[in-house]
């Protein structure tokens, strides 16, 4: 299988698996236990926290481990919302192209009495900075804009957004799940940041929220007071150790890997755009080095994915048929794509295991698939 779906999840690195193994059957203690088994686990957990804190240029007590980025984003939005309410603040700003875990958390807050502004984006997916500035008011408790978009790869102007937030005295949260390990991620000016292990060749089931010590949150999970009383529940020691290892390795190989993947990405973009009536979604340059997203007019995305699957190529789509709501991706809609483009999208997300020959094979196979699907599409024939 040619795996071009690395934005969905990644294959774990052998080094990460190796680092995790002892915590399943040797140092398996509960990190809260007083005996040696527990304290060994605690030491590994805290060493991982310190290593990650160092990478992110923050203090160890500003790292809160949790089960996934969905949880981290929920904790950031809801945790701060509940705290802000005590001070009479009830306004949240999010972009329209956030991941569902941010958008649906925002919608839930809206249903529960909070005001939410959904920031529009331009045709590349860049957040409207003017609108952001104008939307902030004295009730605003948080701005949440993702570092880079998971579908179209657009890298948001986080530095400028952070400056606007700082000038207005409003905290900024960013979902950096897709950005970390692919582009340099700065934590300067950022109050909270969500990361996930399984997008960077680490294990599923572990994420983190970086939270500055001056930001107070209400926990979502109550229990034994783990993670500075912000996320109760026995720590996933093996997962956290794997996360730290994955982060360290991702950062180390980033300069080389992002260059290599960018070359493959650009080759894909160049060759795929030779197919007639095809558009590239997102910005041609200011995008993640591993992301390419296209719309093929008059074909439907799920059909493209399943035809690619027949050729042993794994990719994904933002088409309506891939979602239970039967509406095309909110990201593509926010870009202002017409229905025929929004339904026929294909996302290619590369990773460290991909090879140039896989790119070649894909570029050779794809035009035939698009032709085949267009040949049975009423609109394509009607156009001819």
């Amino acid at each position: 299988m040619i795996y071009f779906d690395n934005a969905a999840t990644t294959r774990m690195r052998p080094e990460v698996i190796k680092a995790m193994m002892p915590f399943f059957d040797k140092s398996y203690g509960n990190a809260s236990s007083l005996h040696d088994l527990g304290q060994n686990a605690r030491a590994a957990l805290e060493a991982s926290r310190e290593s990650i804190a160092k990478i992110l240029s923050v203090e160890p007590n500003e790292i809160i481990f949790c089960s996934c980025a969905t949880e981290a984003n929920n904790l950031a939005l809801k945790g701060l919302a509940f705290e802000a309410k005590k001070e009479g603040k009830n306004h949240l700003i999010v972009s329209k192209i956030e991941h569902h875990c941010v958008l649906n958390a925002a919608e839930w807050l809206e249903q529960n009495g909070f005001d939410v502004t959904y920031l529009p984006v331009d045709s590349y997916g860049f957040v409207d900075l003017g609108k952001l500035e104008n939307s902030i008011n004295d009730k605003t408790f948080l701005v949440s804009v993702m570092y880079a978009n998971n579908e179209i790869g657009t890298i948001e102007p986080i530095k400028e957004i952070a400056e606007i937030c700082a000038a207005k005295g409003v905290p900024l949260h960013t979902d950096a799940v897709q950005a970390f390990g692919k582009i340099p991620v700065e934590t300067k000016g950022i109050s909270m940041m969500a990361l996930s292990a399984h997008k960077i060749y680490g294990p599923k089931g572990v994420g983190l929220l970086m939270k500055r010590s001056d930001i107070k949150l209400e926990p979502l999970l109550h229990g034994g007071g783990h993670e500075f009383n912000l996320r109760s529940g026995t720590e996933n020691v093996a997962g956290i150790v794997g996360f730290a290892k994955a982060l360290e390795l991702a950062l180390k190989e980033m300069p080389k890997e992002s260059k290599r993947q960018k070359e493959m990405r650009d080759e894909i973009i160049k060759r795929v755009l030779e197919i007639p009536e095809t558009r590239l979604n997102g910005h041609p340059k200011i995008r993640l080095p591993n992301n390419a997203n296209f719309s093929f007019r008059y074909v439907e995305g799920e059909s493209i994915i399943m035809k690619l699957n027949e050729h042993n190529i794994a990719a994904s789509t933002g088409s309506a048929c891939s979602s239970p709501k039967l509406e095309p991706s909110h990201v593509l809609l926010a870009l202002g794509l017409p229905p025929s483009d929004a339904h026929g999208s294909l996302r290619i997300s590369l990773g460290r295991y991909n090879k140039k020959r896989e790119v070649d094979y894909f570029c050779k196979v794809l035009p035939g698939i698009i032709d085949e699907l267009r040949s049975i599409s009423p609109f394509w024939k009607a156009k001819r």
Partner: protein, 166 residues
């Protein structure tokens, strides 16, 4: 998520294309929803003097299920009398495909709608009486279409605007 039967029809769809000398055409679905089916039928009289669907072809924009249900409806309806074809339901399609995921059931409804609309078109063109069931269905399809067009007006306008500029 799909049965092997669905994938078989997706891989090798039957009767796809356009009938230039069609007796009736059924056009259903909307690009807004991501599924559009155009179905063409050729009606002739058989040796017993009964009208049968002698040939059938389709063009579909849609997902795996939309393509597979188009293929199956054409396979089932070919050779059937008009009455038999009117009596077909989406359950016949789903059964033939050995099941469809719940969120894809609407594709099977759409495929049968396309067939029934093609028959409606044929009967109407020949000034023939329309069976009540077919007329009701036709009215419902028109109503649903109008609702979708009203609900997604901005989105559809976007399509027209971009379509015109190309």
């Amino acid at each position: 998520m799909y049965t092997e039967e669905v994938m078989k029809h997706f891989r090798n769809p039957l009767n796809m294309g356009k009938l230039e000398d069609a007796s009736g055409v059924g056009k259903v679905g909307n690009i807004v929803c991501g599924d559009v089916m155009w179905l063409y039928i050729k009606v002739v009289k058989n040796s017993e003097g009964k009208e049968i669907i002698d040939d059938i072809k389709w063009q579909t924009f849609g997902c795996v299920a939309a393509i597979a249900t188009s293929s199956v409806v054409s396979e089932i309806a070919r050779g059937k009398t008009i009455e038999e074809a009117i009596a077909l339901s989406n359950e016949d399609i789903v059964r033939k495909l050995k099941g469809l995921p719940p969120i894809k059931i609407h594709c099977s409804l759409l495929a049968v709608d396309a067939l029934h609309e093609a028959i409606y078109d044929y009967l109407k063109k020949h000034n023939r009486p329309i069976p009540e069931k077919l007329e009701q269905k036709h009215q419902k399809i028109l109503k649903d279409m109008a609702e979708i067009e009203a609900r997604y007006k901005d989105f559809i306008d976007l399509e027209k605007k971009i379509g015109n500029s190309r």
